[in-house]
Symmetry: C2
Subunit: 492 residues, 2 copies
């Protein structure tokens, strides 16, 4: 923990990159665009996974696993989807290496192992899953199918950034099959709601629920629902999407079912996903110039205890006072680390756990023992206080809830105060340039206008909010009539 | 559940393949050698993962995630390891598809997207991980590193079989780094012990702990520890391996550390893994001609309750009696399914849950209500009994333990009675041919003899048991002197 972080206002992007590495979350690997998720970063991801998995199962979903590879002929079956991903696919063409006759100890691709049909490393699994569902679905009795998969996917990103945009990333992808359109639409909305609930109640990230414009929606979807969050630099981040796929994949893979009336119909579909990108959102929403700030519900370590001592005797006295506290905290399900490393000084430990965003820090030394006190520190507000040892459990209970609430409230205030209305294109450009954040503006509904606004300002339509009130107005760009405002922003 | 399973004694291999599909565990996909793990099969795997993960964390390991791809230059760095996997590698050579000018709507590989260096889809992750550890390790203070990863890997198997040998499979791979040889050896032994404990206490599979002969050990290892189990057809199955890697990978990737005395030394390593292959072992150890048999500790559904009724009124009476039973079972952490589907008859449900190996089945009808009884059935022994409703909790508690124990005891008896000593090669061949199972025999310790025995009998050395007592004797094949017996068997 030698060097300080770059400050956010100096260079937000540099601050983020340094923070991810210094907090021990992830780092770049030797494979272009692929990251190594380090143990501390992975522990946060595991907490997110565990909670999402509970929420998926509570709503009737089951996990399963489908192949990593998609044969090219299946991949290209749904044309829009295929076109959307074709330019960023890792392609397996051979299955054997052999010794290089010209370079002892080196290997070369064995040309004789060329595959008859190339395999695409899945960028998403609709194709492989719907070709499988065809075998599983004959009648309405086989529906709905409510399946989720935790998996790695690969998209050949040209400008990778840790967590936010990586060539390989981890995610979950739900793929459901339904007998009616309404049921599929309801499912897509339900899962978007679950993402919103998870983002707000666990990650402490306020989100806006909406639908995507034509040009921003998922390749192959009829409608894409999304949750959008605002980062501290005023850029938006798409935190999760849920797609109503209509009958597009059922038609591409010929998946029909006999309905209750005995006639054949194509199956209705949804898919939905969140990824390790959420880690980027979590980091950028709460963290500060001292490092990571974590909501207690997702913190791998909720409380760290640092003993301050000079002699073995002092250490032993402190330890014996701490033992019952540690075991009671553990029994209450609070994850606590007693940092008794003798290789590092307290100051180093303070900085390290601040950088890693441990929500609560307790320090205790010989003077505290005399007074039956300890020092308790909350990471979110960087505030410390000396309290009586007797109050430690109630104080920790209070802080775990209060930090969680405070982080959400703070982020909510920030988001709310960064949604600005623009009624002319000049106003729009000025807000995007000077303030950032979301701009709420009228739009004529055409892809052409959206494209032109993007070219001129780099802002895109993040979503058409679901809770939008109708309002007559004129498109800020084309002056054509519009009946609702949509949210624009520059985005990750 | 129309057709019955092929019987084990008729065709064991066919029985296995049918069972995996009929019990809804997995099926072949459209990608050669890759399987789809269906929700019920995946739910068993999740239970296995959860328990192993607890055991890894209790012994100080943390999870992390490393890239799917290994650049060829890293892959080939440790020569033995590279040579061991070169012939079964999926190789990514391009990163973009484009429209086929000659075939509207079809895609072809864009030749201009050829990678400068090919990427190998990881068959195992030593190379990518040790190239990363080089960045993490400078001093003895950075050691040990105790990391595990849950991941998918790809090995281009020529004769794939569901769970047992698939091109893509799911596994965990531990990769640890240590400052001394002793510590690394202890780690390798510890993890093999954990695998044994998991296999025996959770999967109900008795195993023999041992070390591999030179020709069977992991490519790049100094020593491979393993657990070997015996399937019902008398073939052995390697259920887990733990490797002491010496300094081989540290040397290949130049990973040195400063020890306490201030001098530089290469780091010592282990790696260890179990995979979805364990699902094959679980199925083949316990199941019977009626379908899957599951140990209660790994059963996604431990108790299924089937109502038997003719009218809605009867159903309602049964339901109201069951409600408190269901909620009490759930509160005790027992996973219970009330199968109230009105689309299927009780007989169908009985067969289905037998096929799926649900350990305990309860059936309850109007007559039971009158008598305050219910019928309880244990899948392992196919025994049913009518008991008083008041006894249901104590009976279920008893059965959950008794079935778990019974399955292990039965398998243990089978394994023990199928370890036979051979003192001549004729005896050896006769046992392999007529009995199967393990043959305990003297061996001269050479790869040459092992190879010849394999060629003649298809039996290989499964392991040199760790608890072996020394015994002077003559190699059954070469007649050379030997000081211990090793275990041979035909194997999966």
């Amino acid at each position: 923990m030698k060097k300080k972080l770059t400050k956010r206002e100096e260079d937000y992007s540099k601050w983020y990159n340094e923070l991810v590495v210094k907090a021990g979350l992830a780092e770049n690997s030797f494979v272009r665009g692929c990251m190594v998720i380090k143990p501390y970063g992975y522990a946060i991801w595991e907490k997110m996974q565990a909670q999402l998995d509970i929420m998926f199962k509570e709503t009737g979903h089951q996990n399963a696993y489908f192949p990593l590879f998609v044969p090219k002929s299946l991949f290209e079956a749904e044309e829009k989807n295929a076109k959307g991903f074709a330019k960023e696919c890792a392609i397996v063409t051979h299955y054997r290496l052999k010794s290089d006759p010209e370079n002892s100890g080196k290997l070369i691709v064995d040309k004789s192992s060329k595959l008859e049909e190339e395999l695409i490393v899945r960028p998403t699994s609709e194709a492989i899953i719907w070709s499988t569902y065809k075998k599983w679905i004959q009648s309405y009795r086989d529906l709905p199918i409510l399946i989720n998969q935790w998996a790695n996917v690969v998209r050949w990103e040209m400008r990778p950034r840790l967590f936010l945009r990586t060539v390989e990333f981890l995610w979950q992808e739900g793929h459901t099959a339904h007998s009616t359109k309404d049921e599929a639409v309801d499912e897509a909305i339900l899962m978007n709601d679950i993402y919103a609930e998870f983002a707000e109640n666990f990650m402490g990230i306020p989100v806006i629920k909406g639908i995507k414009s034509e040009s921003e929606k998922f390749a192959g979807a009829e409608e894409t629902y999304c949750i959008e969050a605002l980062m501290q630099d005023g850029k938006a981040l798409q935190a999760g999407t849920s797609h109503f796929l209509g009958q597009n994949f059922a038609k591409a893979f010929d998946v029909k079912f006999t309905n209750k009336e005995g006639s054949l119909d194509f199956v209705w579909a949804t898919s939905w996903g969140v990824s390790t990108r959420l880690m980027g959102a979590l980091i950028m929403t709460h963290s500060d110039d001292n490092g990571l700030v974590l909501p207690p519900k997702l913190a791998p370590i909720q409380v760290v205890i640092i003993p301050i001592y000079k002699s073995d005797e002092e250490f032993n006295s402190i330890s014996s006072v701490l033992e019952p506290i540690l075991s009671k905290l553990k029994s209450k399900g609070i994850s606590v680390l007693f940092d008794k490393r003798d290789t590092h000084k307290p100051g180093f430990k303070f900085n390290e756990h601040e950088m890693k965003g441990v929500p609560i820090r307790i320090a205790i030394g010989p003077k505290d023992l005399e007074n039956s006190t300890l020092e308790i520190f909350r990471r979110d507000k960087m505030e410390k206080k000396t309290i009586s040892i007797d109050d430690v459990f109630s104080k920790i209970d209070f802080l775990i809830n209060d930090i969680q609430t405070n982080l959400f409230d703070k982020a909510k205030l920030f988001t709310n105060s960064n949604i600005r209305e623009a009624n002319t294109f000049d106003e729009f450009k000025s807000i995007i340039k000077n303030n950032g954040g979301f701009v709420s503006a009228h739009w004529d509904g055409t892809t052409e206008t959206e494209e032109k606004i993007k070219r001129e300002t780099k802002a895109t339509i993040r979503c058409i909010p679901l809770n939008n009130s109708k309002e007559d107005g004129k498109c800020i760009f084309s002056n054509k009539s519009s009946n609702q405002r949509v949210l624009f922003a520059k985005a990750y």
